[in-house]
């Protein structure tokens, strides 16, 4: 159990570094979802089922959803501005 936990902690450390080095924001969302799932697995292995349930629903679903909604809204606004510019030209 402790060997599995130690291996998972090393994978989490590598994932954290990969996420901050990813440049495109849309790619970061998928990496964030994977990171949240790794955390849920770690909570389960370290005998914390309540927190694992929280982390699965929040860290793998709700957090990437919020980021995606923000990016969608910004792209929508950008498209509206571009069409307004094309029309006024």
């Amino acid at each position: 159990m402790m060997i599995l936990g130690s291996g998972l902690l090393a994978l989490i450390a590598v994932s954290a570094f990969v996420i901050v080095r990813t440049d495109d924001v849309t790619n970061q969302i998928i990496a964030l979802s994977f990171y949240g799932l790794l955390f849920a697995l770690m909570f389960f292995i370290f005998q914390a089922p309540d927190v694992a349930l929280s982390q699965v629903t929040v860290g793998a679903i709700a957090l990437p959803l919020m980021v995606m909604l923000a990016i969608t809204r910004m792209k929508h606004r950008e498209e509206l501005n571009k069409r307004k510019q094309d029309k006024s030209r």
């Binding site: 450390a13 954290a16 914390a48 929040v58």
Partner: protein
């Protein structure tokens, strides 16, 4: 060194989050690095409460008196995980508003507010 292995991992994740905040070129990237910084505290709390051979502190199918891991730190982490997402939603709303007023998502190009 292997005795304190999760504490070092928690420090590494914290420094990764800080590195992302310092070096980011997009405001949404900054907010995501802040989320990673918050997860380093979960690793630290989990490592403090873990006990070798301990069971989960749910007594629905094991009898009370069995050796379990620490439930107090789990209670601290439980509410934190859900509240973190709402605070990140608030920060993202600020980013969306800054983009709509300023027209840019780069932290270096944000100008002073108008009006």
């Amino acid at each position: 060194m292997l005795d304190h292995y999760p504490y070092y991992v928690a420090a590494w994740i914290f420094l990764c989050g800080l590195y992302g905040i310092v070096r980011s070129r997009h405001l949404v990237h900054t907010v995501i690095s802040l989320a990673i910084l918050q997860t380093s505290t979960y690793v630290l709390l989990l490592a403090i409460g873990f006990r070798k051979g301990g069971y989960a502190p749910i007594f629905a199918d094991i009898s009370p008196g069995v050796v379990t891991v620490d439930p107090v730190v789990q209670a601290l982490m439980l509410t934190d995980v859900v509240v973190e997402v709402t605070v990140i939603a608030l920060l993202l709303a600020m980013v969306v508003k800054a983009y709509e007023q300023g027209g840019t998502t780069s932290p270096n190009d944000l100008r002073y507010m108008r009006g």
